[in-house]
Amino acid sequence: MIVLHEHRRLTESESCRHIYIPFEAPCGGNALTVKFSFQPATLEDRQQSLEIIRRGMEIYEPGIRRNDAELEEFLPLKNMLTLSIDSPDGFIGAAHRHSVNQLHKISAQKSSRGFVPCAVTKGRWIITVSPFHFVTPYVDFDLEVSIE
């Protein structure tokens, strides 16, 4: 049974902010499945990417001039959204990694990497999407949660 389906476009103003998406599990179950994807994965514009890297470097390595070839080692610039899950009893973990297609399964016996095992109980759950790297003008994500 699908209990949440959310499609959103995030704009740059939402970077560095947590987006909390609560949902109600009307009943308990054996497992909770979270499908999460986002795009675009990277910033394609090379010149713009180098400009963003250069601006960063001016803060982190003040006074050191770097040519394009040195900055290229940081390409491509990637978007990264971290997904956290809260059960009705609280935080159970996060998937902090650069994957644009994610599938997480939560159950009392075993959960996917990043999450502790947790019984799927009735009540208020929360998905948190945290935009860590936001290098494109917008990021679209798709989130589907189901209980079986």
Binding site: S15, C16, H18, I52, I53, G56, M57, I59, Y60, E61, I64, F74, L77, M80, T82, S84, F91, G93, A94, A95, H96, R97, H98, S111, R113, G114, F115, V116, T128, S130, F132, H133, V135
Partner: protein, 314 residues
């Protein structure tokens, strides 16, 4: 002679963005000769129970940890780190957060404060305006591979000294920030003065970071744990290095050349290894570095110890 044990205090698994399973991490840690490690995945503790259990089976001490990975800075929290939800950390509340976490028993370390931040690595450059350093125990003066050759670590050590100058007490630690078994390599360690309760030793400042060299420091003829207090006045320091790992020095071409005394307690001084140094210490801090050559590069810091704190009661 005080005994010190090599630890790696900053490790990731595939529960966050690392490539290693807990089993791979534990096996690789044994192979590298660590007495113990801290598992510090980004914003999750889901690898901890398994890693602790695997460590027990093979005699590797595993410290429970997490790396609070926020938009504005990274902090590792060892021990009881459940009092804080990483998502509540922001630029305004950081002092209250570290106070709450520390009072609940977490041992906190500022991670890689001067590494490149966004867009390379969000939060890897510390922007959180921490002022209550009494709730922070450790400070990563060294991060990542070849740590004694990186500009960001030199800048981290500058910041470390400026914080110590203000009277803060912080243990010097190294964080490899280990993500991969094979592609990553490191010759550096955090040596800790307690193998059973390493968090306690970090809290008391009994640590040094080193490119594999062991350190023996005698103050007035006695071994004195790093982080200890000293009375103001004249003290005799005798500093020697020991080749901790067999073959280590030959493998990496490590040649210790001398000792530097630094800090606000005395004028900076350079001396030969083993030389007895009489130092007139005033109130402040005093820390020891070993310098020398390695892997063909000269005049590198080979070891850096947490300070002694000099108190003037007169």
């Amino acid at each position: 002679m005080n005994k010190y044990y090599p630890f790696e205090l900053h490790c990731h698994t595939f529960h966050s963005d690392g490539e290693m399973s807990p089993k791979t991490l534990v096996n690789a840690s044994k192979k590298r000769g660590y007495t113990g490690i801290a598992v510090t995945d980004h914003n999750t503790v889901s690898a901890v129970d398994e890693t602790v259990a695997l460590g027990k089976e093979c005699g590797l001490k595993v410290i429970r940890g997490i790396e609070w990975t926020t938009f504005f800075g990274h902090i590792t929290a060892l021990g009881n780190n459940t009092a804080v939800d990483w998502r509540e950390i922001d630029m305004q509340n950081i002092d209250a957060i570290i106070e709450k976490a520390s009072k609940a028993g977490a041992v906190l370390t500022v991670a890689h404060p001067k590494r490149h931040g966004s867009p390379m690595c969000k939060g890897c450059y510390m922007e959180l305006p921490i002022t209550k350093y009494q709730y922070i125990s450790g400070f990563e003066v060294w991060s990542q591979k070849t740590p004694n050759r990186e500009g960001y670590n030199l800048r981290a050590i500058e910041l470390y000294d400026s914080l110590l100058c203000k009277g803060n007490r912080l243990a010097a630690v190294y964080g490899y920030d280990w993500h991969r078994e094979k592609a990553d390599y490191s010759y550096a360690y955090t040596f800790i003065g307690d193998k059973d309760e390493p968090e306690r030793a970090i809290k008391s400042g009994d640590t040094f970071v080193s490119a594999g060299l062991g350190l023996d420091v005698k103050v007035d003829g006695q071994s004195l744990p790093f982080g200890s207090e000293l009375e103001a006045g004249k003290h005799v320091f005798e500093i020697t290095v020991v080749n901790f790992f067999e073959d280590f020095c030959s493998r990496y071409g490590v040649i210790p050349k001398g000792v530097a005394l630094k800090g606000s307690s005395c004028a900076e001084r350079v001396a030969a290894l083993g030389e007895k140094l009489t130092v007139n210490c005033s109130e402040g801090y005093l820390r020891i570095e070993i310098f020398g050559d390695m892997e063909g590069a000269s005049n590198l810091t080979l070891a850096l110890a947490s300070p002694y704190y000099v108190i003037d009661r007169r």
